[in-house]
Amino acid sequence: MQKIISFPHIGNYYVPIETLLKLLFKDHTVISAPKITKRTLELGTKYSPDFVCVPFKYNLGNYIEALENGANILIQACGGCRYGYYAEIQEQILKDLGYQFEFIKITWGKFNPFEVYNLCKKIGTSLSFPKFIHYVLLTLKMIKVMDSFESYIRENIGFEMKKNSFETIHKQFLNELKHIHSFRQLNKLYIKYNQKLKKVKINKPNNCLKIGIVGELYSLMEPFCNFFIEKELAENNIQVSRFITVTFLLKKSRIEKKILKSAKKYLKYAIGADGTDSVEKGQMLAEDGYDGIIHIKPFGCTPEVNAMPMLQKISNDYKIPILFFSFDSQTSETGIKTRLEAFYDMILMRKEQERCKQLI
């Protein structure tokens, strides 16, 4: 039987992941799940437990749509909070639905190169171990390049002179990224698009509004989940900063102690998953003079709920407004937009007021 491999979506990271899987499994087909739509969420919600967090529902919806497209090998990586236990439940739910497939779980304990290589061997890769490592490193580099471009775009897209110029370049970049096979090609691509991005004319005032986004990783990285909040902010000419990217998550385990240390004013212990980062980044944003912070999470996300009392204290201590969002399958887009608009108006007025005070 022909093996068709598929995996769930998270933001634009499906591009490097798909490229990696295609390089690893040359004899098999790799399809990424269809792009997330309302249907994905509806399917996922229908078969999910009642109050599980929303990434579970998105993932499940992705799997069902991938299975409908003929996939028969599904991949799930796990780790952290509830996320680590997704795989087993999702496998059970899909099996109960009657699908025939193989479920590959990359659990936290197995997160070392040898174990992952063994797993890949089981699926059927013909590559040797060094070659395997080479491709994994290439993918990591790809993700790094992608993240650096995206963070530049995020901070400047609100101020472009010609509409859509950043978005077109970004799309072209993702398309070309799919055909990368070596470090040399990737370097060339980086130089090419770096120049292109820097050439885009922007009109950015010195005292523009700056908002930092912190929170749970899935709802941050998957724009469909947060109703394209970054885009919405950019349309109002706001500089948006976000630090939680896959690049950050990959190096996080090395700097965990450092993060805790720099947030020691509010934290004595790590509070689980990304909660610690949210507090640390929140404090950093407040110290850096940002105009506002937006904290987003799926409904019921325990680590982020843990982080909220500290964020509220940061808001009091530094006098910085924080807007809390929590997303579920039922959240209405209008509600979010209204709250966002009110928040934006408020920080704009605050800024005006401060300027008036300075003038007097």
């Binding site: 437990p49 009642d50 109050f51 599980v52 967090c53 796990c78 909070c81 509830r82 680590g84 236990y85 997704y86 795989a87 087993e88 439940i89 059970q92 739910i93 109960d96 779980k105 659990t107 304990g109 509010y266 934290l267 004595k268 212990y269 790590a270 509070i271 689980g272 998953a273 909660g275 409904f299 019921g300 325990t302 680590p303 709920v305 843990n306 909220m308 009392p309 500290m310 509220q312 204290k313 929590s326």
Partner: protein
Amino acid sequence: MVIGLPKAMLYYRYKVLWETFFKELGCEIITSADTNRKILEDGIKYSIDESCLPSKIFMGHVYSLIGKCDYILIPQVVSYGYDNDVCVKFNAFYDIANNTFENINILDYSINVMEGEKEQKGFIKMGKRLGKSYFHSLIAYKKAKKAQALSDQLKSQLQADVLESNQMKLLIVSHPYITYDRLIGYPITEYIKKLGGLPIYADLINKKESLQRSKEISDSLYWIYNKELIGAIKLLEDKIDGIILLTAFPCGPDSLVNELIIRKSKKLPTINIIVDELQGEAGLQTRIESFMDIIQERLNQQERLNQKEINKKRIV
């Protein structure tokens, strides 16, 4: 020196350990009152509205202790070893309480075996903070540990005796801080007793045994408290008549684990009860009543079948 113990969360697991330890060190202990409406309301006031119900109750208990003691004990638990973690809520109670309440004096210890923070180390540190010597704290800890083990054993022995009875036995699969809480779990178990059922508590089962048996339901589960509970299902499967999964909204681990139990263990009638702070009693009572009726009907049917077989044998 007066130490305050909030009667919520880990209190139900470590009651004897904590009380013996502090008594051995010569400290006075005060425990917060049983959960009541006032405590719950205070808890809701001082927590994020999306927190789970037990954690709100916990905050209420902590609030009720402020000003009444020198220290309030709030442990931080991360892991008991490889693949034996706990819900991340337990990682954060110290910091949440510290950031929510001003002028609170917290006595804390940390259990994070994967990072080398064992329970004993934490208790000795705690003893040092209270001005006691290393050996004094060590001896107190050892004594406390023994007392806790003894009390656990006694309870599980008592339950084992009860299991032989002929009443309808319902296994309550729920965290001890829900089962024994005066406001959430207690009315439910009392109601079961009133209807003639016998509640069997999953958390009283020998923990080592149930940890091993939990693998039969789930092999990748890594929450130790949930492992202990689901192991009890496998251990008692043949001795009970029904399972009540009692959970609080929106409990993270339970949301997934209970789904798995419902999907995997189809041998026994199972009911999933989710409680929240707006609970009305009537709705709950109706559900429990009808659940017990169903089980009774099943039992009656079985008895009739047995009777028939006996009659057949007689005729032959």
